[in-house]
C-alpha cells in the first residue's frame, strides 16, 4: 500500500487541472504578448485565470501577479515593501521566528542591507497573538509579515486580527499563505491583507506557479526579474500559460470544496493524532485547535527522524521530518526549536500532511505500522536506553 502523506511538501495535480492544462500545450500555445489570434487566445486564458484568483481571494484582477512560485512571490513582496519603506525612511520589519525560509532568508538579506528585523517569538501553542504584533510596531515599521499557517506544524495565525491592527496603524501587512490557500477560507478585503503569496502545487495545481496579491495603493511592486512588460511590467518573462491555467483550475475546484474537504481531512487528522500520541513519550507539536485540517506533527523521544522516515517509506508511507539529517544542515527544524523543543527531541520529529485524496484505510495503515517502527528504533537507541534506565530524564 502506498500512502502519500506529504501534502505540505507538494500535492498530486488534480484531474481538473490536468484537463485544463492539456490544450495549452498544442492548441492555445501562443505567447500572450503576441498580437495575432493564437497569441490572443493565450492572453484570454491568462486573463480568465487571473479572474479566478481575484474572485476567490476577493480582490481585483489587476491586483494579481503571477510568479514562478511561492518563494518568488515572498521575495517580491518583501523586497517591494522594504523599498517602499526605505523611501519614507522606514526600515523596520516585523515577522516571526517560524516563517518559511523564503521569508527568513530574504529578511536576513534585507538586514544586511540596513533593515532592522524583529522576529516575534512563538509560544508553545504555535499560535502568535495579534497583541504581540501590536507591541512590536514602531513609527519606522514598514512591513509586518506573518504566515497564514505554518508549513511544519500547521498552526493557523490570527490573520484577520493582525490585519486589523496593521490597517489601523497604517503598516503594510503581508502573509505567506502558501500552506493555507485552498485549505482555509481567505478574503483579502475582509482580513485587511495588503500582500499575500500562494503557490499552486500545494492545492493540486502544477509546480512552478505562484500568485502575489498586492492591494492597490498599499505598496508599489518592485521587480525581482527585469525584462519584458509582462504582468504590468512587474514580472518579466513569457507567462507560463499552461501552469497558470492549471493553477486557476485547481484553485477554483478546491475553493468549491473547501468546507467538505476540511471536514473530511480533519477527521482523518484527528484519528492520526489520537492514535499516534498513544505511543509513550510522544507529543503533538503545536496546538490541535487552530491547525490546518491535514497537518500532524509529532516528536518521539529517543529516536531520530530520518531513520523513522526511511522505515515508514519501506512500508509505503511518504512523510517528512524536521530532523537535521533530512535537511542536510546540522540543526533540526527552526520551527521546532522556535517552539522551545530541545535539539535532541526536535531531531525525532515526524510530519504527516494529508489531503482530501487520503482515505480512512490509509490512516489505518499508518496507525498499524508506526508504533512498531518507533519501538524498533528505540530498541537500537542508546538515548532511549538512558531514558528508560533513568540516567537521562524524559522531557516529553
Amino acid at each position: 500500500m502506498r500512502v502519500y502523506a506529504d501534502n505540505a511538501a507538494t500535492t498530486a495535480v488534480s484531474d481538473t487541472a490536468v484537463k485544463a492544462m492539456l490544450p495549452c500545450f498544442q492548441e492555445f500555445y501562443g505567447n500572450p504578448s503576441s498580437l495575432h489570434t493564437v497569441g490572443q487566445e493565450a492572453a484570454e486564458r491568462l486573463s480568465l485565470a487571473r479572474q479566478v484568483f481575484a474572485k476567490r481571494l476577493n480582490c481585483d484582477p489587476s491586483e494579481i501577479t503571477f510568479t514562478s512560485g511561492g518563494s518568488e512571490a515572498d521575495n517580491q513582496a518583501l523586497r517591494s515593501a522594504a523599498a517602499a519603506g526605505a523611501k519614507k525612511n522606514k526600515r523596520h520589519i516585523i515577522s516571526t521566528e517560524f516563517e518559511h525560509h523564503a521569508i527568513l532568508h530574504t529578511l536576513e538579506q534585507l538586514s544586511k542591507e540596513g533593515f532592522e528585523v524583529t522576529l516575534l517569538p512563538i509560544p508553545k501553542s504555535g499560535v502568535i497573538s495579534a497583541e504581540q504584533v501590536r507591541q512590536a510596531i514602531r513609527p519606522d515599521t514598514c512591513l509586518v509579515t506573518v504566515m497564514f499557517a505554518n508549513n511544519e506544524i500547521g498552526t493557523i495565525q490570527p490573520i484577520p486580527e493582525i490585519g486589523a491592527i496593521c490597517r489601523e496603524l497604517g503598516v503594510p501587512f503581508h502573509t505567506d499563505a502558501v500552506q493555507a490557500a485552498g485549505h482555509l477560507p481567505i478574503d483579502v478585503r475582509a482580513m485587511n491583507i495588503d500582500l499575500l503569496s500562494l503557490s499552486a502545487h500545494k492545492f493540486h495545481g502544477p509546480k512552478g506557479v505562484g500568485v502575489l496579491y498586492v492591494r492597490r495603493g498599499a505598496v508599489s511592486l518592485m521587480n525581482v526579474i527585469y525584462g519584458g512588460a509582462q504582468e504590468r511590467g512587474k514580472r518579466a518573462g513569457t507567462e507560463n500559460i499552461a501552469g497558470i491555467v492549471g493553477a486557476s483550475a485547481a484553485f477554483d475546484e478546491i475553493c468549491d470544496h473547501l468546507e467538505e474537504n476540511a471536514a473530511k481531512v480533519t477527521v482523518l487528522r484527528d484519528r492520526l493524532i489520537d492514535g499516534l500520541t498513544k505511543i509513550p513519550h510522544s507529543i503533538l507539536n503545536g496546538e490541535q485547535e487552530h491547525r490546518l485540517p491535514g497537518n500532524v506533527n509529532l516528536c518521539f523521544e529517543g529516536i531520530e527522524g530520518e531513520s523513522l522516515l526511511l522505515l515508514l517509506d519501506q512500508k509505503g508511507i511518504c512523510a517528512s521530518s524536521g530532523s537535521a539529517c533530512t535537511s542536510g544542515s546540522l540543526d533540526p527544524s527552526h520551527v521546532l526549536l522556535a517552539l522551545g523543543l530541545p535539539h535532541e527531541v526536535a531531531h525525532g520529529s515526524l510530519r504527516l500532511s494529508l489531503s482530501e485524496y487520503n482515505t480512512a484505510e490509509e490512516i489505518d495503515h499508518i496507525l498499524a505500522v508506526t508504533p512498531g517502527i518507533v519501538e524498533y528504533l528505540r530498541n537500537i537507541s542508546p538515548v532511549w536506553d538512558e531514558l528508560e534506565t533513568g540516567s537521562l530524564k524524559h522531557v516529553i
Binding site: E304, S307, Q314, S323, C325, S381, P382, V383, D385
Partner: protein, 145 residues
C-alpha cells in the same frame, strides 16, 4: 535512492545490535544535540588480544545505524590493534558508498571503535599513543554549541 542496497540492508537488519553487560570496553561518541550518538561495546579475548564480541546502540539517521553495524562486522574476531586501523573510508567502501553529507557518520563509527578500545586499554593499564585521542571537534558536525 539516497542509499545503496548495502546501507539499507545494514540499517534494516543491523548486525550485533544491543547492549553488552560484561563488556571489556565501551565507547560512546557523538551528541544527541547533533542528532547522532553511537555506543560501541567490545569483549576482548585477553590471551590473544582479539575482539571476540561486539555490540552497538545508535541514535541517528539510517546511515549512522548502517555504519555502526558495518563497523562491528569489520572488527569482530580481529586483533585489537588491527581494529584500531579501521578507517571511516573502509567502512564507506564496505557499504558501497555514502552520500557526501553523510560521511560524518562513518567518521563517528571509526571513532566509536577507537573509543571502545581506549576504554579497554584504560581499564587494563595498557599504554597507547596519541592516535587514540579521538574527536578533534574539527569535522564540523558537532557545531552546535
Amino acid at each position: 535512492m539516497l542509499y545503496s542496497e548495502k546501507v539499507m540492508d545494514h540499517f534494516q537488519n543491523p548486525r550485533n545490535v544491543g547492549k553488552m553487560d560484561d563488556a571489556d570496553g565501551v565507547g560512546e561518541v557523538g551528541n544527541a544535540k547533533c542528532g547522532d550518538i553511537m555506543r560501541m561495546y567490545i569483549k576482548v579475548d585477553k590471551d590473544t588480544q582479539t575482539i571476540s564480541d561486539v555490540k552497538f546502540n545508535t541514535f541517528g539517521c539510517g546511515s549512522a545505524i548502517a555504519t555502526s553495524s558495518m563497523a562491528t562486522e569489520m572488527i569482530i574476531g580481529k586483533p585489537v590493534k588491527e581494529a584500531l586501523t579501521l578507517s571511516n573510508k573502509a567502512v564507506v567502501e564496505a557499504l558501497d558508498g555514502l552520500p557526501t553529507h553523510k560521511l560524518h557518520c562513518s567518521v563517528l563509527a571509526e571513532q566509536a571503535v577507537k573509543a571502545a578500545v581506549k576504554d579497554y586499554y584504560d581499564k587494563n593499564g595498557i599504554a597507547y599513543g596519541d592516535e587514540l585521542n579521538i574527536c578533534d571537534h574539527e569535522c564540523g558536525h558537532c557545531a552546535v554549541e
